[in-house]
């Protein structure tokens, strides 16, 4: 039987044509049709000891949801996903499955792994478009109240898990819309905002209260939340402060942090200006500094905003680029140019302070550094100029001290990230947990969700049994 299954090739995700999509904000992958999804689900071997589940940071029962799709039981499939994951439509889109579930898939040992991510997305989309609008069933109320600070992927996971267990949950969000990086950071063409809103609405149906426009740390402190009657708190406020290159001329008009560029475009909908009031510059010759997923998001956004040319400028080589392979592939398809082994040294601007270009140095790779990647070394005398009217700096972020300054008894590491137990997420302050980028530094959506899951389990134990 397994032999027969091997003959079916892995489903291909239909996508918008690169030449069309590079100028619009519609989602790039179009999603699987039901028949394709069923055929793909049937490729699963239903392993007795499924390695894919070990590869999933939130331990979704992957064989169970996949077998339900294979049996044409789509609502059964979403039910199985919801048991472990409150955000399947998001994870099906943005998880690096190749390093996780699909990376462990036995079918993948001799061929292409089962497209678990596509199937997760299919089940979630099918439910959203054709389902009953049902939500996971919650346990009897425990009377306990939990404050979740930050409505990004880790906060939403904590909220979903604790709601399921019958606890009251209030989510505090500094922005005017819930979703954190899912709404301000990840672009519409990769994760439509209506999908995030739908997942957040499901949590509200399960009983979550969402208080937007509340900057915990500024508007109210965690201590005051306890005084107001909360029994526990989870800090999932993200990484926060964008890093710049600290080079001469970096405050020229036209140089954005990736955070600003993406927030203006996604959350504030600058791409719809003037229908929306927040403007976003439309660079003609755009350079993105950095090579992670956020850099690819920025580059592909610039292309959609009408750029003539978009370059990724990166100081190492193609092999060291940290973005997911799929993101690199999508970027190349959309005619984003990779300028590798190149590092900027200064920026130039005109008399009005507007960016006109940057000077770069060529690099070569030396011995491996602390990160295990070969260290880039400048080639002396290799300076040259790149003309550009926009630069998006996408080289990571540091911990934002706004919240942690207001909670001195939550101790931090030397980078300002919260010192939380790696297993439980407990901080040094009683009743307070933390997870996601504020603990780890900038990482992925699913790792933040995994941290949320672990913290929620520990918080549930605390609410039932004590610290």
């Amino acid at each position: 039987m397994a032999d027969k299954k091997k003959k079916v090739p892995r489903a291909k995700m239909p996508e918008q044509d690169p030449n069309v999509r590079r100028r619009n904000f519609k989602e790039v992958p179009l999603g699987l049709e039901a028949e394709t999804a069923i055929a793909e689900a049937k490729r699963c071997l239903q392993c007795k000891k499924p390695l894919c589940v070990d590869g999933c940071p939130v331990s979704i029962d992957i064989p169970a949801f996949v077998s339900r799709i294979a049996d044409n039981d789509f609502s059964g499939a979403i039910g199985k996903l919801w048991e472990r994951n409150a955000l399947p439509a998001v994870c099906g889109r943005v998880c690096p499955q190749e390093e996780q579930c699909e990376g462990r898939c036995i079918v993948g040992k001799k061929g292409e792994p089962v497209a678990i991510g596509y199937l997760e997305r299919f089940a979630a989309d099918y439910e959203r478009n054709n389902g009953t609008g049902g939500v996971p069933e919650v346990a009897k109320p425990t009377g306990k109240k939990v404050a979740v600070i930050g409505s990004g992927p880790s906060g939403l996971t904590v909220a979903g898990d604790l709601l399921l267990k019958g606890h009251g949950v209030t989510i505090f969000e500094a922005f005017h819309k819930a979703g954190g990086v899912l709404v301000y950071g990840i672009p519409e063409f990769r994760l439509p905002k209506a999908i995030v809103a739908n997942e957040v609405a499901a949590l509200e149906k399960m009983g979550a209260k969402i208080e937007c426009n509340n900057v915990v740390g500024a508007s109210v402190t965690i201590e005051e939340l306890f005084e107001e009657g909360f029994d526990a708190a989870y800090i999932g406020v993200g990484a926060g402060l964008p890093r710049f290159m600290n080079l001469p001329g970096e405050n020229a008009i036209g140089i954005y942090s990736a955070n600003e560029y993406l927030t203006r475009t996604n959350l504030m909908k600058g791409y719809l200006f003037p229908e929306y009031d927040t403007p976003i510059a439309r660079g003609k010759n755009v350079v993105v500094l950095g090579a992670g997923n956020v850099a690819m998001d920025s580059a592909r956004t610039a292309m959609r905003l009408g750029a003539d040319s978009v370059k990724i400028v990166y100081r190492r080589s193609r092999d060291e680029m940290p973005a997911r392979e799929e993101e690199l592939h999508h970027a190349l398809e959309e005619q984003i140019e990779f300028v590798l082994l190149t590092n900027p040294t200064q920026f130039f601007s005109d008399e009005n302070g507007r960016l006109t270009g940057m000077e770069c140095l060529k690099m070569e790779l030396g011995e491996p550094d602390d990160s295990g990647r070969r260290r880039p070394i400048p080639i002396e005398g290799s300076e040259y100029k790149i003309n550009c009217d926009m630069v998006v700096v996408s080289v990571g972020s540091n911990a934002n001290p706004l919240l942690t300054n207001s909670t001195p008894d939550v101790s931090l590491n030397r980078w300002g990230n919260i010192d939380a137990d790696p297993v439980t997420g407990k901080t040094t302050k009683k009743g307070v947990w933390a997870g996601g980028d504020i603990v780890t530094g900038a990482a992925t959506v699913i790792l933040a969700m995994g941290a949320g899951r672990a913290a929620a389990n520990s918080m549930h134990d605390y609410l039932a049994l004590g610290w």
Partner: protein, 285 residues
């Protein structure tokens, strides 16, 4: 939430006061801190330093000049209407202590920002000389409140319609000549702050200014509000908005404030012509 409970027009209708329901913010806010407001879901996020707070009533007061579409949309909100978003208090509060003799210089809507700072400095025991300026007397705001918050008050008008005929810098120079001043706080248009700063630098008097760069989130997340202070890049939203005037790069700030001038004009013109989608409001000016 964020309901407007009181609204006044000042300076011939060019400047608007809104007192807004914001219980949490009103309890926390200190002089020098700001809020970010958004008129509705399609609106821009606009930072405004608070002109006053009333913790008992649970309200804050903002005062702004109508300069573009976003402030025009704020102007078109009436008593009883709500802002779509209001967050705060943001930024570092003014460091208030008794240093002796202080001069507070204000121009335009900067006077509103200066108001709680002046009051706090006087309450801390300082002798506070306040110098306010405007183009003409009918455009001057908060004269009475500022008089009450100061030990003594000078008015300057560009056209001579009241008080000293000329700029605040001339009066500042006189006051510095004749008194031993320990601190100057100057808040107003960039040229005013820049020239006050040049004068006080000559006299070596510590001077604070409140900078107003463009912001998006206001919590340190985007870096839009970066300003150069003493050669270093600072984020006005979390490191400021107040900085040592003698270290500030006012020319860079002025240029960065002009980043979106064309877009802003397009937006405001469309709004004035009644073409703005969704609101359908017409400009009253």
């Amino acid at each position: 939430m964020a309901k407007i409970v009181n609204r006044q027009e000042m300076a011939q209708g060019t400047i608007i006061l809104n007192e807004i329901k914001a219980p949490r913010i009103s309890q926390k806010a200190k002089p020098g801190q700001f809020v970010i407001l958004q008129a509705d879901e399609t609106g821009e996020r606009i930072p405004l330093t608070m002109a006053d707070t009333n913790p008992k009533k649970g309200t804050i007061t903002i005062i702004y000049m109508v300069v573009g579409k976003s402030t025009a949309r704020f102007r078109d909100l009436n008593v009883g209407d709500e802002y779509y978003a209001l967050i705060g208090p943001l930024g570092m509060p003014t460091h208030v202590e008794n240093v002796g003799k202080v001069v507070c210089v204000g121009g335009g809507t900067g006077i509103a920002v200066l108001h709680p700072i002046t009051r706090a400095l006087k309450e801390a025991g300082n002798e506070v000389t306040t110098i306010l300026g405007s183009r003409s007397y009918d455009l001057l705001i908060m004269e009475e409140q500022m008089r009450a918050a100061s030990t003594d008050l000078h008015i300057c008008t560009d056209d001579g319609s009241h008080g000293h005929h000329g700029f605040v810098t001339q009066v500042l120079k006189d006051v510095l000549e004749n008194n031993d001043i320990d601190l100057v706080v100057a808040i107003g248009p960039i040229p005013m702050m820049k020239f006050c700063s040049l004068i006080t630098k000559e006299k070596n008097v510590h001077t604070l200014v409140s900078l107003n760069p463009i912001m998006v989130d206001g919590t340190g997340m985007c870096g839009c509000c970066r300003v150069t202070v003493g050669g270093d890049t600072k984020f006005a939203c979390v490191d400021g908005p107040e900085f040592d005037a003698h270290k500030g790069d006012f020319d860079e700030l002025a240029k960065r404030l002009a980043s979106y001038l064309d877009d802003e004009k397009q937006s405001f013109d469309a709004y004035k012509n009644g073409n703005a989608q969704k609101t359908g409001n017409f400009d009253k000016t």
